[in-house]
């Protein structure tokens, strides 16, 4: 996983790593979680908490709504729906598609 200290810098998917972050995910498209952007301090804690809510590799994920003016996202994951702020959403890496990618190398 590539290091990404500034979550506002958007990364483009590449053939090596087709993952994008949750912020870039188009509305109501299906995808899968592949991991969290590892960070330090607050972000590590954030990732742990998101994991507890169900943001774990292999989980199907979908953005169902985006609030206006840069507000939060409503995200459906692992059978629950959660509101995440943009900074939080930026830490979640996803891959678009119906089928779960092999997560063996990512864990």
């Amino acid at each position: 996983m590539r290091p990404q200290s500034d979550p506002t810098v958007l990364s483009q998917p590449t053939p090596d790593d087709p993952s994008i972050d949750l912020l870039q995910m188009p509305l109501r498209q299906e995808g899968y979680v592949v991991g969290m952007t590892a960070g330090d301090g607050v972000h590590a804690d954030l990732a742990g908490r998101l994991g507890e809510l169900g943001f774990l590799p292999g989980e199907p994920i979908q953005v169902i709504a985006k609030a206006s003016f840069g507000g939060p996202l409503a995200v459906r994951v692992a059978g629950g729906t959660f509101a995440l702020r943009q900074v939080e959403a930026a830490t979640v890496r996803v891959v678009l598609g119906r089928q779960a990618p092999s997560t063996a190398g990512l864990v």
Binding site: V42, G48, A67, G70, G71, G79, A83, L84
Partner: protein
């Protein structure tokens, strides 16, 4: 606690929004005791269940948590309890893990974690009716075999929904080995690992388990999701929210009217009845001017308070409140708060006390403190009687457009003023924030469901009971005290002015007038503000008493509005309205803030800044309206 010796204890654990509280209510009915856990301000809800054989079982309702890794004080209590770190709490002989059958996947992970704590478990598979309606039939025996834990189906919102669980508890706890089967030692706490890897391991285990049961992997678009497409829409959503809030405030004013007139006439009838039975004198004055006038003036507002609470309960039950928080998060972020602060703030529209207590769900300590400080600026229902009286007396009922009444608009504006000033204060406090970066939101948006009528009625009855108890105890006793101060000492023979001006209350009012005259208050208002410290709505009853005693005697309860219409100028009325937008005086709020923050400076700061704002706003309103009306 000594009476609880020998009575078996069970504890309920579960995710937030799993229907645990409804199940707890179902198990214990009205036999509940709410207190705090030792040393922390987390609500400890305990109750007693009496099984069909008449044997009691103690039930402890632990705060909801997603995992055994706590982030909020509430979750900390649950984790500490489960891990045996709360020395004052007796260990439960059985943990009932409440699991929402419609969100099985996420919730089973908590079961996995709890299994490692060494507690004896039973899973209460809750909301099975909903899951069935979604076409999900869960084989209880298979699930139980796969988990290695007994599984019982429950429906928390059905009156007999816990029958199977009660039967299970009765059998299990009656068995002799349950008393002996105290675990030798709690598994080492370190074994309850909470890092990402162990979460993934648990998730894989749950996945495999559900797959072996033939549980569908994803359910497609649910009804909740379809509703969310509208409710969370970036343009439609906020408009809908605004419309809902406006409807609430219109309803509070217009729907309540016929009920209020009915109560008003009932009070006048009671007063007339007392007058006809009791001979004139001090005692009759106490009954009519003190008790009936005082209590009556407050009681009139019961219909409005019921309507407001009904709306709040409906919005809460249906699952709309977290959506409102979602829509408002960006705006709240602008003043340094998060959408999470919305729910405590909305509760504060009913009363700041539960609002301040609801801030416990805010994980960020700074956000929590700011939310506590601004919560009393939300217009609580105790201020409603005052607004209603003044608006009714001074603002003409005049239909503007679309059936919208001017009185309703003024009420809405007063509420709005409270909200805007709260944002203003939060914005000022934003400057003091030390940490950088936005706090996380991570708020669950639970599935929508139809509010249960039983739950709504129960909640409303609780509110009515609290309100009537306040009227019955605090308010009436303060009214009697005020009546006493307003009647004693009697003026000397030959004194020409109203008797009350000679009394203690009259003298106190005259002294307070030095402070309050610049903002247009007369001595009657100044006196009424003092008992209003105990509860804001008492100020109305106090005005009722002061004016009833000051008047010629023919005026009785329920006639306050025409009286003040004659006695006050419009600037005075507007100034009092402005005062009450900020009104610092409410002892219960200050007490709960003291308790929740465990500090004196927070309530002191709160009282200080609110007094300053109230005085400033009232002064400005008074001077500006005098100038506008050409009085000055």
């Amino acid at each position: 606690m000594s009476t609880d010796q020998g009575i078996p204890l069970i504890a309920l654990v579960g995710n937030p929004n799993c229907g645990k509280s409804a199940l707890f209510n179902l198990l214990t009915g009205s036999r509940q005791k709410v207190a705090n856990y030792a040393g922390v301000t987390v609500e400890r809800k305990a109750g007693r269940l009496v099984n069909p054989q008449g044997r009691p079982i103690q039930v402890l309702d632990l705060p909801g948590t997603y995992s055994l890794h706590a982030r909020t004080p509430d979750e900390q209590v649950t984790c500490d309890y489960v891990l045996g770190r709360l020395p004052h709490e007796p260990r439960a002989s059985l943990l009932v893990v409440v699991v929402d059958a419609t969100h099985l996947k996420r919730q089973l992970r908590l079961v996995m974690q709890l299994k490692r704590t060494g507690h004896r478990l039973v899973v209460a598979l809750n909301m099975v009716d909903l899951a069935r309606r979604h076409g999900r039939v869960i084989d209880r025996t298979q699930l139980s075999a796969a988990l290695g834990v007994p599984v019982i189906e429950t429906v928390g919102i059905q009156s007999d929904g816990a029958a199977a669980l009660i039967r299970y508890l009765t059998e299990t706890l009656a068995a002799p080995e349950s008393a002996v089967e105290a675990p030798a030692a709690l598994g080492p706490v370190a074994s309850v690992r909470m890092d990402m890897d162990s979460q993934i391991v648990d998730q894989r285990a749950v996945d495999a388990l559900l797959q072996s049961l033939g549980y569908p992997r994803d359910s497609g678009v649910s009804g909740s999701e379809r509703i969310d497409r509208v409710v969370l829409h970036p343009i439609v959503g906020p408009l809908l929210l605004l419309a809902i809030l406006f409807l609430v405030f219109q309803a509070v004013f217009s729907w309540a009217q016929p009920f209020m007139s009915a109560i008003s006439s009932a009070i006048a009838w009671v007063a007339a009845g007392v007058m006809s039975v009791v001979p004139p004198g001090l005692f009759r004055s106490l009954l009519v001017d003190g008790v009936v006038a005082g209590a009556g003036a407050v009681l009139v507002f019961l219909p409005q308070i019921i309507i407001l609470f009904a709306f709040i309960l409906l919005l809460e039950d249906s699952g709309y409140l977290p959506r409102a928080a979602f829509l408002l998060d960006r705006m709240m972020g602008g003043v340094g708060l998060s959408g999470r602060s919305f729910i405590p703030l909305l509760s504060s529209f009913a009363c700041a006390v539960p609002g301040v207590m609801a801030t416990r769900t805010i994980p960020n300590p700074r956000d929590r403190l700011v939310t506590i400080l601004i919560a009393p600026l939300m217009t609580c229902s105790a201020r409603l009687p005052i607004y209603a009286l003044l608006i009714g007396a001074f603002i003409p009922s005049h239909t503007l457009a679309f059936g919208v009444d001017l009185q309703g608009v003024v009420l809405f504006l007063l509420y709005l003023l409270g909200v805007l000033s709260a944002f203003f204060v939060a914005l000022l406090l934003k400057g003091f924030r030390r940490q950088s970066g936005a706090a996380p939101l991570q708020m669950e948006l639970p599935s929508y469901h139809w509010p249960s009528a039983r739950h709504l009625v129960r909640g409303l009855l609780q509110r009515v009971e609290i309100f009537l108890k306040r009227v019955g105890s605090i308010i009436v006793s303060l009214m009697v005290l005020l009546w006493f101060l307003s009647s004693v000492p009697s003026p000397p023979v030959g004194y020409v002015g109203p008797a009350i001006q000679w009394s203690y209350a009259g003298r106190l009012g005259a002294w307070l007038l030095h402070v309050f005259a610049p903002i247009g208050f007369n001595w009657q208002i100044s006196v009424a503000l003092i008992p209003g410290l105990a509860a804001r709505e008492v100020a109305i009853g106090a005005l009722g008493t002061v004016y009833a005693l000051g008047a010629t005697g023919s005026d009785v309860a329920g006639q306050l509005a025409p009286l003040i219409q004659r006695a006050w100028t419009l600037p005075t009325a507007l100034s009092l309205l402005a005062w009450y937008v900020f009104a610092p005086q409410c002892v219960s709020t200050l007490a709960v803030v003291r308790r929740e923050t465990n500090s004196w400076w927070v309530p002191a700061t709160m009282a200080g800044y609110q007094f300053a704002m109230a005085y400033g706003a009232a002064w400005l309103t008074y001077q500006l309206s005098r100038w506008a009306l050409g009085i000055a």
